[in-house]
């Protein structure tokens, strides 16, 4: 019972919103309810940190690793609900349902971080994905109905990715006769170099998580879905699924063993193509959400470098980086969301004069963008430092050099965002009046991006304990 506490609180939250969807609650009530319940979920996750055990016939493991991810995911959920103050972008009649499916998706993600058996993994993956398929078209009716396109794309790609994952699983099961990761870990390292089918099976298995992470070659959905979904929905889609994907990727990559060179090569190619494709495409975007989508593809590449090192430092840096990525991206989406009270998309032109309209917003955007660009003293810089250190320790110099060249390219478009926000405009601009509670979130994001970047040791200690539970 106590082992399953975070999941139970999320289920309770979903239940509450289910009943709320039957009634007719005001938006502000719904939001307070969501904040309260997700705060309880965060507390439950923190409380259950340090618990160890397994459930459902060893298919579901609770350990330091899963709990760290649960804390990050539930906390992310809390921020996403906090950020969506007023739900500008979501259709008025669908608000309780929006919260309901958000919660269910978070529940799926939380389960993913604990799943250690292939069927459990696929079920958690599907729970989190299906909920998102539903809420992406929840956007208020726009001129082009682009939310429908986004919804269809996300669903089609998601289903295809799941199909590929299942197909890969069938190979693996066929060759090993087990679905438990603990057993697979004993068998796969011995055969992966001898049987190419195992390699293919493993890569196909990972596809489902590449899809969640928006890593090449499963990245195609990202720009259109980011663009089509409501701003608050995007802030969820863009951040939390990636955290859970990293959790599972760490579990699955460690299956291959430390010296599976062909497997590492495949991952390297994906990482490099992802970075390069993402960054080059981001250069020409004018819609901020599309830009962030391509930037997330690039970041999936950086993350992959840490993970494919398959070393303690590599996994640690992966966890650290994805947590940082969550905050930095939320900082950008926070600004996007509050700049568009009608819930439309934001382009560079809308950023002009932001500095005069609201200095705090401009600063939040600057810190978030410079963080994503990897400029010290932000969390993005420290994360890249750790990732590159892990890669050079494995003698992957070429990979690191390609990655830093990519970082250099990326600076350009992040700088473009900041520049737009700090450009002065000639005519008078209307000031953005932020509520105190909104400003608090902005300040919180700025502080945490800089603090976690300057003093990473505390977080690293937690992550270290977590990684020790997997390898």
């Amino acid at each position: 019972m106590a082992l399953y506490l975070p999941e139970l609180t999320l289920l309770l939250m979903a239940l509450v919103f289910f009943f709320a969807s039957l009634g007719n609650l005001k938006e502000s009530r719904l939001r307070s309810l969501g904040l309260l319940l997700s705060a309880i979920a965060v507390t439950a996750s923190v409380y259950s940190y340090g618990f160890k055990g397994s459930l459902f016939f060893e298919a579901y493991r609770v350990d330091a690793f899963s709990q760290v991810f649960k804390v990050i995911i539930t906390f992310g959920l809390f921020i996403v609900i906090y950020l969506g103050d007023g739900l500008y972008g979501v259709d008025d009649t669908l608000r309780p349902e929006y919260y309901l499916f958000l919660t269910i998706s978070a529940f799926g993600l939380v389960s993913m971080s604990s799943a250690v058996e292939l069927i459990t993994i696929i079920i958690s993956l599907e729970i989190s994905s299906f909920a998102l398929f539903i809420i992406i078209p929840f956007r208020k009716q726009g001129a082009y109905r682009e939310q429908m396109e986004a919804g269809i794309k996300y669903a089609l790609f998601g289903v295809t990715a799941s199909g590929i994952t299942l197909y890969g699983m069938s190979y693996i099961f066929g060759m090993t006769h087990t679905t438990y990761l603990a057993d697979l870990m004993k068998i796969i390292p011995g055969v992966i170099l001898k049987k190419p089918l195992m390699l293919i099976g493993l890569v196909m298995l990972l596809s489902g998580f590449f899809y969640k992470l928006a890593l090449f070659p499963m990245h195609f959905w990202a720009p259109d879905v980011y663009e089509g979904a409501a701003n608050e929905t995007t802030s969820f889609v863009a951040t939390l699924p990636k955290v859970a994907a990293v959790a599972l990727l760490i579990r699955l990559i460690s299956l291959a063993g430390a010296d599976a060179s062909q497997f590492t090569w495949v991952m390297m190619i994906f990482a490099v193509l992802s970075m390069t494709f993402g960054n080059l495409s981001a250069l020409v975007q004018t819609d901020l959400k599309r830009l962030l989508a391509y930037s997330s593809i690039a970041h999936a590449g950086y993350l992959m470098i840490g993970l494919l090192c398959a070393s303690e430092l590599g996994y640690l840096s992966g966890i650290y980086y994805v947590a940082g990525y969550l905050f930095m991206n939320l900082a950008c989406f926070f600004v996007i969301y509050h700049l568009a009270p009608q819930g439309r998309n934001i382009s560079f032109d809308d950023l002009k004069g932001l500095y005069k309209r609201s200095p705090l917003m401009a600063l939040t955007l600057a810190v978030g963008a410079f963080g994503l660009a990897g400029i010290p003293p932000t969390i993005g810089f420290t994360g890249k430092l750790f990732i590159f250190t892990a890669a050079i320790k494995k003698d992957m110099y070429a990979l690191v050099i390609l990655a830093v060249i990519n970082t250099g390219i990326a600076i350009f478009y992040y700088l473009k965002m900041v520049r737009a926000a700090y450009t002065s405009v000639d005519d008078e601009v209307s000031p953005l009046n932020l509520r105190v509670s909104t400003s608090v979130l902005g300040i919180f994001l700025i502080v945490i991006i800089i603090l976690l970047g300057t003093f990473p040791q505390g977080f690293i200690d937690f992550a270290k304990e977590a990684v020790a539970a997997v390898i």
């Binding site: 010290p376 600076i411 520049r419 700090y422």
Partner: protein
Amino acid sequence: MEQYLIYNTLSYPILTVLVTVPLFGAIITLAIRGDRNLKIWGLLVTLLTAVLSLPLYSSFDLTTAKYQFAEFSTWIPFVNIDYVLGVDGISVLLVLLTTLVMPLCILCSWTYIKERFKEFICVLLLMEAAMIGVFVSLNTVLFFIFWEAMLVPMYLIIAVWGGPRKDYASIKFFLYTLIGSIFLFVAIIALYVTTGTFFIPELMTHHYSFSYQMWIFWAFTLAFAIKIPMWPLHTWLPAAHVEAPTAGSVILASILLKMGGYGFLRFCLPMAPGATAYCMPYLIAVSIISIIFGGYLALGQNDIKRLIAYSSVGHMGFVTLGIFLLNDAGIKGAILQMINHGITTGALFICVGIIYERTHSREISDNSALGIMMPIYVTFLVIFSLSSLAFPGTNSFVGEFLVLMSSFSKYKIVGGLAVIGAILAAAYMLRLVQKMVWADSDGHIHHGEKSHLSDLNFRETATLAFLAIFVFWIGLHPAPFLKVMDASTAHLLQQLESGMNVLPAGHGEPHALLNGVGESIKHLLALK
């Protein structure tokens, strides 16, 4: 640690204080209202920093090459990153230059900056903290953090308070410097993975293989050559200088450019001595090109700021030339030349700012014949111009003389070519002075458009007079400044000597190809 550091014995942790006073000053700035209060606050913080930094000079131990006033505490134990600060004879003068120039930056912006004063003071103070941090860090990661942290405030200074083409200039500045430093970043990590430490003095003691040295040497050199800047990577500099507000130009010229030279001395020479010795001919050749090219382009400029910007390229060429001559006089001359350039060119940019405030133009032709209207101003202008062309008795003479002397003693042709640069400097500076002071003036004030020009007020006079003191002090009595460098330069040369003998043996074809080019450059320069 003890073999490298002498811990701070002053009553306060001086280096940490120097970094944190401007940092906290910047944060407190956000709570202050009223332009006048903000200016006074900015001046107070920078003056306080300057006063607090003085013990660095008075208590400096001249006899040792160890890092003094050091502080140490662990920071991120998991990858062995420590918080280590310290200064030696190479960095101490640069720290003092920074702390002393910053109050002048506030003073020269007193009326120049018209809007967003709060943010201006804030970024200026952040900039000061980061710049001092770069010079005092003894940990490569800490160094890199401060190095990159300078970028954002400097970018904002140009992008927000700059001239008409500020967008172009600021983004060019940012991208150039950043792309240079990403390879620096890789080199820092590679060094850590090889040696297990980020601690700079310890990194200097390791011996690396020749090809490894070549890689890190060029990774470092790219970053520093962009920053200093060397031909052909200098193109960001004129744009940034012309568009930046006065204080921005002064910071760029006086301090930011010095970081390139400092980086060469701190990283390239001691950590990759073999590669340094091997690459010396190329870098000397590039330095000579910078000197002549910068001087030649300065001759053709009509914009005063642009002229001084190109002259900076030439002057910094002397610095890199001095560094890569790899002997005592050359390196000392280079360090002194960095300080001199900071004083002289900073002062010249302040002069340009002063006249721009009055005539709203930086064209030489719009600012001609000022001698009769602004006698005090032109006195300073002539002093600093003479200093810039290294007139005997001024500060630059000493530095340039040391560099030229050591280049003549080592390679005559190099010395001969560098002298051309010095002559060009005289040509463009005298042309500037002639036009701005006299031009076609007949010695009377006519009732024309310029009769309203007022001479310097007390604030402006004090700013320039302070710098003029140093022009003559270093010019007439440079010994106290050179003494500071003695021990550290000797130590650096010793590190070079012991490491230089790593023979470029056992490396592949590409190096052999380079070798051929190196030989022919040596022939060209008639090197030994």
